[in-house]
Symmetry: C2
DNA sequence: AGTGTTCCTGCAAGTATTCGCAAAAAGTCG
DNA sequence: CGACTTTTTGCGAATACTTGCAGGAACACT
């Protein structure tokens, strides 16, 4: 199974025009096997735990690169660190409640429709792979 | 005029529940009188040029605070630095072309409609004061 | 496998951003 | 104008993130 994953990851990397390297596979593996968001240092820790070694700067570079290819989503909530999660090309959008801090999923439909409207009115092809919308969730809204 | 600006800024700060301090007025002043986006170090330079002195850490704190009150918008394009601009509570949205790097305005209507749809489907009250949408602009799209 | 080209990575800085704490300023009330 | 309470600020670290460069690895071709 690990190999299946790895194989898929390799394929994804290749079709994104990237070389299949140890560093990328390790980072991908850590993200794939962690639920929720992970910070850069969390990824680093994960790699070390798996007895691997990658330099800090490489982790940052790989994360930025995977973000650019759409395999990984980068979020910046209020915190001091950015966080990352494996999305493997699927669009992935968040509603982040500024009251309780909870994060939920936003349906892609709405975003697609929005992108469509942007294209129509501005001629701009939005590449909204990953949005973080701040606001107040239903539960907190009631109080 | 400078006084009028300052007066307005003071009022805005007060109604946001913030104290009117020298540091905040200076940062606001620099942002108000610069067109386009300014980095944190740019703000610092602006303050120094106006013969003022504020600590670096204060600039960051003030910027984060003004961002939270909605007076300032924070953007992170591909660059290493975040950039800021004075928006004084008005919503302000950007279309950022990843090809040519150009940034244009996105009409608030579309965003409002989107926010409405989010509320309807998710019960989530979006506070979209400032969005940055990445994508490809019309001109670059044609090539 | 051997060679060449191009992309990636580690290392060692460098820059950007945040934090803790004590002193100073802002707002409040009498 | 004081005295008092709460927020801000400066300073000095600490942490988060980026970059330049030279060696190492991936891939394509033979």
């Amino acid at each position: 199974m690990a190999e299946l994953h790895e194989h898929n990851t390799a394929t994804l990397l290749r079709s994104a025009g990237r070389r299949v390297t140890n560093a990328r596979l390790q980072v991908a593996h850590v993200l794939q096997h962690s639920r929720g968001h992970l910070s850069a240092s969390g990824v680093l820790a994960g790699v070390r735990q798996a007895d691997g070694h990658i330099d800090q700067s490489t982790v940052y570079r790989v994360l930025a690169d995977l973000r650019d290819t759409g395999l990984v989503a980068e979020s910046r909530f209020g915190n001091s660190e950015a966080t990352y999660e494996w999305i493997a090309g699927d669009d992935h959008h968040h509603l982040h409640c500024v009251e309780c801090g909870e994060t939920t999923q936003l349906s892609s439909d709405l975003v697609d429709r929005f992108d469509g409207a942007v294209l129509e009115q501005h001629g701009f092809r939005a590449e909204n792979r990953h949005m973080v919308i701040n606001g107040v969730c239903e539960r907190c809204s009631v109080e």
